[in-house]
């Protein structure tokens, strides 16, 4: 049986993680596309409630990178 691709919500801090992801894109590095990114101005903005709400709305995992 084919495995379904997981959906992952990634909260990325604008100055650090999002810029890193952007650089990965610009440098044409191959990376998997299951990450649904949410850009936040600072990873401290991510309230634990966001994580629970993300899981409630049907994602399989959450990444918070700061």
């Amino acid at each position: 049986m084919e495995q379904v691709e997981p959906k992952i919500v990634a909260f990325l801090c604008n100055w650090c993680a999002y810029a890193g992801a952007d650089l990965a894109g610009v440098s044409r590095l191959q990376h998997p596309s299951n990450m649904r990114t949410v850009r936040v101005m600072c990873s401290g903005r991510v309230d634990p409630l966001f994580i629970v709400q993300a899981l409630k709305s049907g994602c399989d995992g959450v990444l918070v990178a700061g």
Partner: protein, 163 residues
């Protein structure tokens, strides 16, 4: 703390991944995201309907005043001290935060179970897997803070309702 809550609720702490990343570490972003995807893939699909009670309870726990207050006070308690001037150690603070987290989560879980129509102590225990004694103890606390009310008896079994 959120990972502890996810572990407590049975959802699993490894549904949440935390990482430090800098803007120059493009290759690391690829490595981290691949590793996270592999890990989540191995855990399988997350069924939010199966865990609807636990998720609702987790959400209410994170909204709880006590918890938010404690987390907000952490820096001050560790660095400057409490109202008596005593500086807290991180280990002691974490131990108390764990206790508060567990208690709040169990209370919210009981309330969600009552809302889902499990209104007697035994029914609640069967649904959420907590001991009868623990549930009765927390119900008394919840009654005092007007989270639930005692609704009488059906067939000699006490029945509760959520407020």
């Amino acid at each position: 703390m959120t990972q502890k809550l996810l572990k407590l609720s049975g959802i699993g702490e490894s549904r949440l991944h935390l990482a430090w990343l800098s803007s120059a570490e493009a290759q690391r972003f690829v490595d981290i995201s691949s590793a996270v995807i592999e890990d989540i893939k191995a855990q399988g699909k997350f069924d939010s309907k199966l865990f609807s009670l636990e998720l609702a309870a987790a959400e209410e726990t994170l909204k709880a005043e006590t918890l938010r207050w404690m987390v907000g006070k952490e820096v001050k308690l560790l660095a400057r001290g409490d109202v008596y001037g005593r500086k807290w150690e991180k280990a002691r603070f974490e131990a108390i935060l764990d206790e508060v987290l567990e208690r709040e989560y169990h209370k919210q879980l009981i309330r969600q179970a009552i809302l889902a129509d499990f209104t007697s102590v035994r029914a609640i225990s069967q649904r959420i897997g907590l001991g009868l004694k623990r549930i009765s103890y927390l119900l008394a606390d919840m009654e005092k803070t007007n989270m639930i009310e005692f609704k009488g008896h059906t067939e000699c079994v006490p029945v509760f309702g959520a407020l």
